[in-house]
């Protein structure tokens, strides 16, 4: 189960990067970036998920005394939690820049923005 999810995450990163690098529309590039982002999250969570264990939340089902033997690693989960929120901030920032570029140029085609070419 863990291996399957990890493989999926890796393939999602590759697919997302392919989309971000080959598309010419700025919005489509951001979509590819979002997919790669999700892939990274899945890989990180899969690294922390030990097979046959349960969520790191202690209640009647998992008393604190048994926690060591029964819970998964909580640290990657905490990292991914913050990464998702930052990811939304970054996506919103990219979209705001794309919108500004569109207002200035009237196009979203990356090939028509030639200032940085040499």
């Amino acid at each position: 189960m863990t291996t399957l999810a990890m493989t999926t995450g890796f393939v999602l990163i590759l697919i997302g990067l392919y989309g971000a690098l080959t598309n010419r529309n700025l919005l489509r590039m951001i979509v590819g970036f979002t997919i790669a982002d999700t892939g990274v999250h899945i890989v990180l969570v899969a690294v922390g998920a030990l097979p046959g264990r349960t969520a790191p939340i202690l209640d009647a089902a998992v008393p604190p005394a048994e926690a060591l033997a029964r819970i998964v690693d909580p640290i990657p989960q905490a990292l991914v939690l913050t990464a998702i929120v930052i990811g939304l901030g970054v996506t919103a920032l990219m979209l705001a820049y794309a919108y500004r570029l569109f207002v200035r140029r009237g196009t979203l085609d990356i090939a028509k923005m030639t200032e940085l070419k040499w």
């Binding site: 209640d59 060591l68 913050t82 929120v85 207002v103």
Partner: protein, 236 residues
């Protein structure tokens, strides 16, 4: 065409790297040292049932402060970028009216969504969820109102006040921890209480609620800034 070939080559190299990682990966049978410490002592030291919350708010609290700062910066930059973009596209087409059912339904549903957000971040130390999720849910209720009434005026000053106040009190609580307990953002300057009850785990619910309010205000301000990009007059 040559560019696409280059991209495929790059991805092939990256894929080979991933394949090597994947084949060499052996899942651990036991928790590593840090995680084992958190699992063994987290509940007793901090009184939080949700270990992810314990890590985010207390053990790695400084990282969270940095993260909230990054989010604040992103929001501010979005506000700056879009504030100069008010003069917009000329051929603004007329918006379709909102159906009455959506207006009524959104008025009915926005309070429960807000309530769910508050529930999620107040119970962050007991059940899954916490400030970041609760903040996103609060922003979702603002999004629903925005969808139902696109021309509604959201109070920018209210959002800014909530964000600034919760941010300052968050840092202040961290300093309280420094003075009255073990270190910056230590939650033990309030009594730990009984494990598993709502008012337990010291200052964790308080700190996480403040983070929730701050994140919710930040996301709402992003949404409001984006939706205010056209100021062309609308037909009623």
């Amino acid at each position: 065409m040559i560019r696409r070939l280059f991209v495929v080559l790059l991805l092939a190299v990256l894929g080979g790297l991933f394949l090597a990682l994947q084949l060499g990966y052996v899942p651990d049978a036991q928790l590593n040292q840090t995680a084992a410490y958190y699992a063994e002592h987290g509940a007793g030291e901090l009184g939080a049932a949700n270990l992810v919350t314990a890590i985010i708010v207390t053990y790695r609290g400084l990282d969270t402060l940095g993260e909230v700062t990054v989010l604040f910066l992103a929001t501010t930059i979005i506000g700056l970028v879009l504030a100069t973009g008010r003069a917009t596209i000329s051929s603004e087409s007329r918006r379709t009216q909102v159906s009455e059912l959506l207006t009524t339904g959104s008025r009915l549903l926005a309070p429960p969504i807000m309530l769910l957000g508050v529930y999620v971040f107040i119970n962050g130390h007991l059940t899954p969820g916490g400030g970041f999720q609760g903040g996103a849910i609060l922003a979702s209720s603002a999004l629903l109102l925005l969808l139902a009434e696109p021309l509604r005026d959201f109070s920018h000053s209210l959002i800014a006040t909530v964000e600034a106040l919760s941010g300052s009190i968050y840092v202040l609580l961290g300093l309280f921890g420094l003075v009255f307990a073990g270190g910056f953002l230590d939650n033990r300057f309030l009594p730990l209480g009984t494990f598993g009850e709502l008012f337990s785990a010291g200052a964790i619910p308080l700190i996480y609620s403040l983070i929730g309010l701050k994140v919710g205000a930040e996301f709402s301000s992003v949404l409001v800034h984006l939706s205010a990009t056209d100021t062309t007059e609308e037909q009623p």
